[in-house]
Every structure is written in C-alpha cells, then in structure tokens.
Symmetry: C2
Subunit: 490 residues, 2 copies
C-alpha cells in the first residue's frame, strides 16, 4: 500500500505545483504589470525546473513498480503517471532545455517576422525548432512513427494515419458545401454599427451565465488572445473586445466557457490527481465547440441573443431573428483560421496537418514551406495568399514547437458532431431552453457524459461510450450540410 | 568559486519560488474566485513545502562552508543565507508543521470569537499557539532570550531590552502630548459627506502617482485589508474604500506605495538574491509611514489634496486648507490600533509589546490576558474597553503566531522620525513640491539612502548611515510635538 500512497501523495503535490504554474500564466496574460516580463520569465523557469525534476524523479519509477492500485481510478492514475514519466525520461535533459530555450526565443522572432511580413526572417529559426522536434519525436517514438509520437502528447492513442483517413473522408463534402455556399444566390447581411466595449462585456457575462458558467469558481478578464485557465475550484476565462464585431467577444466567451466547464465539471475526487483534467486536446476542443457552435450558433439560442443584442445596443441593422441567425453563421472567403466559420475551419486544419506531417517526416523542407503553403491554399480555397501574415506566419504553433497539435482542433469538431447527435436525442427540450437563453439540459448532458469523467477514460472510449456509437465524421457533416442548406437555401 | 556559484544559483531559484508564493497570496486576496479556497490552500501548502525543503537542504550547509565571497554583496548574501539556514534547521520539522497547522486553524477560531465577542472561545487556542511559539523560541534562542529570538525574525539585531528602553523614553512625552491634545479648547472638524467609490479610487491613483508609484511595475486593486505584495519588477498595492471616509482609501494607498516603492527601488542587481528585499519590518514600516505621515499628512501635501478633493467631490464641508490640515490629523479617543493617529498609535504598540513579552517570558498566563489588556488600556488611554473586539481580540497577529512583530510598527515610526529629520535637511524644496502634489525630492532621497540598498546593510546601520546619526526617538517626538502644538494651538 505504501508505494501507491507515496506515489499519489507525490503526484498530488506535483499537480498543485503545476496548477500554480498555470495560474502564473493567467496572471501574465491578464493583470501583470507590463514591466514585469523578465522577472516572470525567471519565476516560470524556476517552477518549470522544479516540475521537470519531479516528473523525472527516479522514485516514481520505483513506486510504479511496487504500487498496487485498489480501484479503477487508481489503475488509470498509474497508467497516466507511467505515461508521463516514460515520456519525460525518454527526452534527454539537454534536449528538453534546448527546446525550452529555443521555443521561447523563436516566439519573439516569429512575432517580429509576422509584423515585418517577412517569412525569410523566421524560417531559419523554424528549421532549428523542427530539427529539435524531430529529435524529440525520435526519442519518444523509439522506432515508431515520429508524427504519432508528437500527436500522442495532445491526443493520446490517436495516430496520424487515422486522422489522415478521417480527414480524407471529410474533405470532399466540406469542399462541395463550401463552394455551394459561396456560390449561393442570397448571402446573409453583415452586422454593422457601434458596439461599446462595456456593453459587449456585460452581454458576454450574460452569455457565460446562460451556459452555466459557475462564477463562484471562475472569473472573466480581458486578454489579447482569449483562453481558459485552471481547474477544480478555479477555472477562469478571458475574452477580447473588437469594437465593430461583438460576435468576436460573445462567441469567444462561450467557447472558453466550454473549456472551463469541462474542467469545473470533473469529479472533485479526481482533483490533484492525473485524472483531474480534460483527457485530451481533442475532447477539450469538442466541449468548447459544442458550446460555441452546436448550441450557441443554433437558431434557438441566436433567437434569444438577437433580442438581447437588439436591447443592449438600442437596435441592430438586422431586424429579424432569421436574418440574424444567418448573419451569425455567415460564410465568407478569408485567410485566417481563427476567424473561419464552421464550414471552412476544418479545411484550414487539414492543410496544416498535411504540411506539418510532411515537415516532421522530412518530406518537406522549411525552405519550401512558403511555396507549399501558398499553393495548397490556392488549391483548397481558390485564392492566392497575399502576404505572409495571412499565410505561413499566421499561427504561433510551429514557432513554439507545437507540431501535432493542429489536428486536435478538427478532431474536436468531429467529436462535437458525434456528441451533438447523441445529446440532441437525449435532450429533446434543449432548443426550447436555448431559445430562453438557458443551455442547462445540454450542459448537464455533457457534464454527465463527458466532464465528470476527467481523465478516467481514454478519449476515444469516452466519446464512444457517451454516444454509444463509433467515432465518425458523418454526424458533423450531416449537421453542417443540414444547417447551411437551410441558411443558404441550397 | 563553484560552491559560491552553486549556492547563489540555488538561492536564485528559491527566491523565484518564494516570489511565486507571494504572488499567489496576492491573487487570493484580490481576484481569486470565492469558491477556490480549499484548492488554494493545497497549492500554497505544496509550494511552501518545496520552499521548506529547499531552505533546509543540507547542500546549503556544504556550500556555505566552501563558499568564498568575492564582493561585499556576496559576503552579505552568505550571511543572510546562513542566518535563514540556521534558523530553519533549528526548528524541528514536527514543530514547524504543527505550528503551520495550528496557526492556520487558530486564525479561523480567532475570527469566529471576534465576531461572537467572546474572548474565552479563543484563549485556549491562543494558549496552544503560545506554547508552540515558546518552544520555537527556545529552539531558536539556544539558551538566549526567548523574545529576542522571535523578534530577530522581523527586526534582525534588535533586542527586547533595547526596544523597552526606547519605548520607556517615548512614553511620557507621548502621554503628555495626547492629554494636551484631547484637552485642547479647539478641536478640528470632522469630514462629512458622500464620497463615491469610483471617485475615491481615482483620487487614490492620483495620490500614488504623486508619490512616484511606478505603474509599469505595479497595479492597484481593492482588498479587505490593504497590503503591498512583490518586488523587483512587480510590486502591487491594494487599497480599500470606506464610503463615508475617503481618507481611509487615500492614506492606505500612500502607505502601501511606501512599502512598494522600497521594494521597487532596490538595486536591480540584487534581484533574486537575499539582498533583494526590504531589510526588516521596522525599516519597511518606516518607509510606509514617512510616505503616509511625514510627507502626505504634512501641511504642504494636504493643501494640494484639499484642492483635489474639493474638486473631485464637488466641494467639502471643510472650506479652508488650514482647517483641512487639522481634519486630516484629527486625534480622537478610540480603541483600535489600525485607526489610531500618529500620536496615539505608538501607545497602542507599547502596550502590546509589554503584554507579548510577558506572555513569551511566561510571566503572563493567557487566562489573565483579558484582565491585563483591559487594565493596561484603562491606564494608558483612560477608557474602559467595552467589548473584546475593541480589546484583546482586535488584532490577528497573536492568533497566527506573530509574537515579536508588533514593536516593528513603532520602530518604523522611530526610524521614520530620524529619516524625516535628515531628509528635510537635504531636500529644502520638498514642501514646495509636495504643495504641488509631487513628492519626488523625498522619494528620491529615500531611494538613494534607503531603498537601493535592499538587504545590504543591517537595519540599524542602514538608518544610521542615512541620517549620519544614532537612532533615537527624539526626532519623532520633536516632530509630533511641533506638528500637533501648531494644529491644536497648544
């Protein structure tokens, strides 16, 4: 018993320290004085170094060998601890340090290059990052596929080949739908007007409340890039305000509420254990997406939102709830992934997935990346990339070493499609309450079927048990075709 | 060289972790969701445990033996590290844990007893705390005086006997001054009116700016009990708003700016070393007090503040700057230390100092504490304590084990008196700029003579070098008699 208890007690403290590091990150992005950057870097370095030491502590290996789990949760905890311990030990300390140093540096170089619209400024650094990431992947893969080894960090159990075949199945229907929409005779109106910051933030709070955000265990602040941070009793959201576009603030908020609700909904018994967090990036994204899209961008909720916004902003240029629904779901050509609608978003991801898989496999050289990006974009979106910030420099991910991360966004959409189908069957009154500004039946269904399990079940099993079906892109594609055919009268 | 470098590198990380712990404390008191208390307790426990382990790490002992300092700063760093290491190692782990557990518990019991106005509810717990603190003091003192061993944690180098003789020298003149003031024929007017929160906070920011607070390395938030938190590039202040009494907000703010300015003014080379913080509680308090009292409660600055407040609140019931100066410095009878004016404050401290010295020495039993408090209060202030919250239950200090802390408040006033005399001689234009709402000459003098040194010089030496004189209560007493004789026309 003692090894099991020692291991869990040690892990408990590691989880607490890791939660502190995340809280510091929140502080940095929201309230930290602007002059404190160097100090904060040193503080983050110190706690990360303590965490790294703990994650590779040889005692973990001894405890793991001697530990006898007493429950299903303890078995799974052992599995997750062993997984992290093995991953941490496979990467040589020198490489981990070098990666940390380089990626913190390269983020600045990327930002500078993006501001200067000069991809050449960034590519040599990206090449160095890629070299180290391939080295890391080789250490992790132990002879297996390099990309899979990186992907496993974000979506455990998923492989690049599985994702490729999922994406191959999705692409034709998405491409067709996109073309039909952009070629449709009637296009939704754009929302225009003056939308003061304070009113947007007040409405954002109302929306968060509509989606059951627990304010006693969270708070909302403004950040440059919205994010959610923390778990258990303290998961905070951030939002941003773009004055001419209130949808940015409102839907970012609901998206982050989805992430935070997942963390806040986990069984409290799992707090400070490896089960006490969302199980994968894909499942996490499925929660933010199902809140933001399947629930908050549906006809029912937008009907309620139309009235709230009309009141709050003293009338809108759109005067009818059906037209407003179309406006919320407007599909327009664009270069930027984060601004993409439900239809085009996945096409952006597929392109990044193919490119990064080629980079990691050594099939694509960073010197050819701009050309590869631009020609692929032309092919998928029918438009030539006009400048690097709209092209290869638009995302920070690769600069900070996040290879294998992009596909989890689209995977989240696929999971959300599956979950939405099952959720709708089980909650026939959901649209009625959404039309009243209350997502409770959906939120409760997700808490029961997804949130509370935390890390207990592996991602695929979790979603398949919740939906009582295999994972498939069909529900998502059916949902998209159905929704957008109605809106665009296809 | 290697031992010295290893020691400093290790200490650097410890300082960074300790700074993180302080930032978490700030978070807890300002922005943390109310439902996150248990989680935060576990997080604080985890980082405190890491810190305790590091502070008692046997490698420190080895490094200290082998280290050869190369500079005056390194010699002092060695001295301070050795001091903390020895203190940490003298206290048995069992006792440290028990003290941490009990004092976190007893704070709640104290708060409950205070709310219930029932001292008996609290005294048995206080007795347990006292027992453990005496045990700790014995471990630290190694045969020396128990009270001195505790005091040394807050005011290194100072002894109870020295403080007693300092206080004995002060008491008669303070008692006489207090009686003269309360018996004076003319008493200052009270400020009355409506003072909206937002206006108070806006004025507080203006006051902080007047005292040179560096907003790029700090921020201001609202907390129940105002405090300052952090150092180097990030020292934040908090304030509170009591709507009928704007002085509370404004002078709390300036007080905390004093503390933060000290930390922000330390030589950046000392960051992440033991020299990178205020050298003692007494010196710290001297900075907050000299900002709040000798500068911000002087005739020059109150003249400027009178105009600002008259404008901000659309007129005051006091219509003349001299009368306003008297109002700011009003002396009225009262039970509460934290609400006391410059004259009576030190009398509150002296009484606590005598009582806690007797408690630690074993000359006073907690069962007799209420009687001892009340009779002493009657003697010093001429009034009978009406209820425990106005008497023995008013301060949290003893409940959380802070014996030996109280005298540093009065010591801060004494240091401030000394420093003010020297500062005024060196900055003949200070009152002119204060009258314009600008404390720069004073702030610069303090930065040059106190702040920048951080922990380089021991407290007494620091103040004596700054003033080119011995520490003495005379300058403070002269200043108080001079100021209040004028205001009260004595």
């Amino acid at each position: 018993m003692s090894a099991m208890n020692d291991l869990l007690a040690f892990q408990r403290q590691t989880e607490a320290l890791s939660s502190i590091a995340e809280r510091l990150g929140w502080d940095q992005e929201t309230v930290m004085p602007r002059g404190a950057a160097e100090q904060r870097a040193e503080e983050m370095g110190a706690i990360e170094s303590v965490l790294h030491e703990r994650r590779t502590d040889p005692r973990i290996g001894e405890w793991l060998e001697a530990a006898t789990p007493r429950t299903e949760a303890e078995s799974r905890a052992i599995e997750l601890i062993a997984r992290d311990f093995n991953r941490a030990n496979r990467v040589p300390a020198r490489l981990a340090t070098e990666l940390a140093r380089l990626t913190s540096l390269s983020q600045g170089i990327w930002a500078e290059a993006r501001a200067n619209e000069d991809a050449e400024e960034f590519l040599p650094t990206l090449d160095q990052v890629l070299m180290l990431k391939r080295e890391e992947a080789a250490a992790l893969a132990e002879g297996g596929d390099l990309y899979d080894a990186l992907l496993d960090d974000y979506e455990p159990g998923m492989t690049g080949a599985e994702i490729a075949s999922l994406f191959d199945a999705m692409r034709p229907r998405l491409v067709t739908l996109r073309e039909d929409i952009l070629g449709a005779g009637v296009q939704p109106q754009e929302l225009t007007g003056h939308f003061p910051q304070e009113t947007q933030l007040r409405l954002a709070r109302t929306c968060a409340t509509a989606f059951g955000y627990d304010w006693s265990r969270g708070r909302m602040d403004v950040a440059v890039h919205p994010f959610s941070s923390g778990r258990w009793q303290d998961s905070r959201i951030t939002t941003r305000v773009v004055e001419p576009d209130p949808f940015n603030c409102l839907y970012s908020t609901i998206h982050e509420v989805g992430h935070s609700s997942y963390e806040l909904g986990i069984d409290p018994d799992y707090a400070f254990t490896p089960l006490g967090r969302g199980v994968s990036m894909g499942v996490h994204e499925s929660q933010s997406r199902i809140y933001e899209n399947q629930m908050a961008r549906g006809r029912a909720f937008t009907g309620w939102l139309f009235n709230r916004m009309s009141d709050a902003f003293d009338g809108l240029n759109i005067t009818d709830a059906d037209a407003f629904y179309a406006t919320v779901n407007r599909v327009t050509p664009g270069f930027i992934r984060t601004e993409a609608d439900e239809v085009q978003y996945n096409l952006h991801i597929m392109m990044r997935f193919d490119l990064e898989r080629d980079l990691i496999a050594g099939r694509l050289d960073t010197r050819d990346l701009v050309e590869a990006w631009n020609s692929r974009f032309q092919k998928d979106f029918g438009v030539a990339v006009d400048r690097p910030a709209n092209g290869v420099l638009q995302d920070v991910h690769w600069a900070i070493g996040l290879f294998g991360y992009f596909p989890t966004y689209a995977l989240g959409n696929v999971y959300a499609g599956c979950l939405n189908a099952a959720m709708r069957e089980d909650t026939p009154d959901l649209d009625d309450t959404l039309a009243q500004g209350d997502a409770a039946p959906g939120v409760e269904w997700l808490r029961e079927n997804i949130h509370r399990h935390g890390g207990l079940l592996p991602p695929r099993q979790l979603v398949e048990e919740a939906t009582e079906d295999d994972i498939s892109p069909e529900p998502l594609l059916d949902y998209l075709e159905d929704k957008f055919s109605t809106i665009y009268k296809l």
